[in-house]
């Protein structure tokens, strides 16, 4: 019996550039072309200047752990085998925060403030996800 697959994210039109970039192992976020503010995930408008003009720009995949929650319940059967696992908020050097997972890192050792760098997890031919591993400070 094969383990159930982790839920595939819906590739919405707004988020398509993000998933295309991830397949190239590149991390992109939205940038407001009016005021330059960066944001993630895709939003309908810039909440700094209310402009709806936007582009996707590559950003450096370095940052720190902003917060961490260790999941002990499998709300989807695919995660039952990996309990407990950490969901983290990474604050990238560019200031944008994103929900993600960590790899090659014991859950109990994931700490707020720890430096991280992006790597990419290929889930399927369509879906590659940015995840993060420990980086040297």
């Amino acid at each position: 019996m094969t383990a159930p697959a982790k839920p595939a994210p819906e590739i919405t039109p707004e988020m398509t550039p993000f998933f295309e970039a991830a397949r190239r192992h590149e991390l992109v976020v939205q940038r407001c072309t009016a005021c330059g503010a960066l944001r993630f995930p895709a939003r309908a408008a810039c909440n700094r200047c209310m402009s709806r003009d936007v582009e996707w720009v590559p950003v450096a995949g370095r940052g720190t752990i902003f917060s961490v929650a260790v999941m002990h319940q499998a709300n989807h059967p695919a995660f039952a085998a990996v309990l407990p696992y950490a969901v983290v908020v990474v604050e990238l050097e560019c200031g944008v925060r994103m929900i993600s997972n960590v790899v090659d890192w014991p859950v109990a050792e994931v700490r707020i403030g720890a430096p991280v760098e992006v790597c990419f997890e290929e889930r399927s031919p369509e879906v590659t996800l940015p995840v993060f591993r420990r980086a040297s400070a």
């Binding site: 929650a69 999941m71 002990h72 709300n75 929900i99």
Partner: protein
């Protein structure tokens, strides 16, 4: 300074609480009908007295359009002058009371039923053995986040709580002490779902993790049930079946932005409206009923109302929030952690019970003035009520 025109202009005169918890059979709409009937009986009013209906639909109301109209038809109410289906999450209940109070003071209507109900729990299934006690309706997946295994409000709050612990040194013990104190109150409340279950700090630490830093007992219950409150004009309130509970003050605060940055609830804003309207300060409250989706929410809300300074919620609860007979009476029915989860109706109902002096074994000796909070989303929305058994 003249008194605020809303201060004491309306009163809560009826409270209806259906059986709560793993109660199967009625739909959410059915629980709502039962709650309104009980509230009218409690007030000594009849259906014909009601000319306003406000409804906060729980999750199991689903996509039912215009919930307040559905409930009007189910109750057979005619000639309403005010209705609305409202949703600010857990802040809705207090916001409904405020909306009712404002409409009554403005002369738009006279007697308003405010209603919450939900029925997310399903009966245990013989096929799975268990399935009855889980909050399956509360589990939802959200695109990219679900792909990372990030599910539900527990996890969203956990990320914020973790920041509070990091920034202010709040400890697991601090969270646990909130759960223990509230359980001690629930042990004196026969209507509480966990009335018969004791909880020590070591029981708390031994309980399973849900999402670190939350153990099982950091998280609120899930309940089927309904709860209704009848609000009317002060001149109508006198001489009814139960002593009126006067609405002295109300306010809302919705901060926006990322709660993991502010680590604050909208209480910081809502109190600026509610406290001056009521003419009270934080030291005046005899009873404090705070929205408690998590232990953490109680701790943060205490900070934001000014019971202690920002970041001192942990040490404050350790010293002052101890349960019956000690310190500050907070969530005196056991709250949503130990009593039942009717979103913001739980703290409102307990404030009414205490102010009326109907608290039985858990009655607080001095019970003139109560603070009530409602909180929705992840510290996203907030509403405050100041209630008193004394006319303004």
């Amino acid at each position: 300074m003249p008194a605020h025109p809303l201060r004491g202009a309306s009163a809560i005169v009826g409270l209806g609480i259906t059986p709560q918890g793993k109660v199967y059979g009625p739909s959410a709409l059915g629980f709502a009908v039962d709650a309104v009937r009980l509230a009218l009986e409690d007030a000594g009013l009849s259906r014909e007295d009601v000319d306003g209906l406000l409804v906060n639909p729980g999750l199991s109301w689903g996509d039912m359009g215009m919930g307040s109209f559905q409930l009007q038809q189910a109750l057979g109410l005619r000639d309403l002058r005010l209705t609305a289906t409202m949703n600010l999450g857990g802040a809705t209940a207090a916001a409904m009371i405020a909306h009712a109070a404002q409409a009554i003071a403005a002369g738009v209507c006279r007697t308003v039923a405010c209603v919450f109900s939900d029925a997310p729990l399903k009966p245990p299934s013989p096929a799975t053995g268990d399935g009855g006690g889980t909050g399956a309706a509360y589990r939802f997946a959200r695109g990219l986040e679900a792909a990372y295994g990030f599910f539900g409000v527990n996890a969203m709050y956990a990320l914020v709580a973790k920041r509070h612990m990091h920034r202010y040194g709040t400890t697991q013990d601090h969270l646990g002490l909130v759960a223990v104190a509230q359980r001690r109150w629930a042990n004196r409340n026969p209507a509480a779902q966990l009335h018969d279950k004791s909880l020590t700090l070591s029981d708390y630490h031994a309980s399973r993790w849900i999402v670190e830093p939350f153990h099982l007992f950091d998280c609120c219950l899930v309940s089927n049930g309904g709860l209704a409150v009848i609000v009317t004009a002060t001149d109508r309130a006198r001489g009814l079946r139960k002593p009126p509970v006067y609405v002295w003050g109300m306010g809302q605060g919705h901060l926006g932005g990322d709660p993991a940055d502010s680590l604050a609830s909208g209480a910081v804003l809502a109190k600026e409206t509610a406290f001056p309207m009521a003419g009270v300060g934080v030291a005046d409250f005899d009873v404090v009923e705070l929205y408690d989706c998590y232990t953490f929410t109680v701790l943060v809300t205490l900070e934001d109302y000014g019971f202690c300074s920002k970041g001192e919620g942990g040490p404050f609860v350790a010293e002052r929030v101890r349960g019956p007979g000690e310190g500050l009476p907070v969530n005196t029915g056991g709250g949503q952690l130990s009593s039942f989860y009717m979103w913001g109706m739980t703290p409102i109902s307990e404030a009414v019970i205490q102010l009326r002096g109907e608290g039985g074994e858990r009655q607080v000796p001095r019970h003139d003035l109560a603070l009530v909070s409602g909180n929705g989303g992840v510290l996203s929305t907030h509403a405050t009520l100041v209630l008193s058994r004394l006319p303004a």
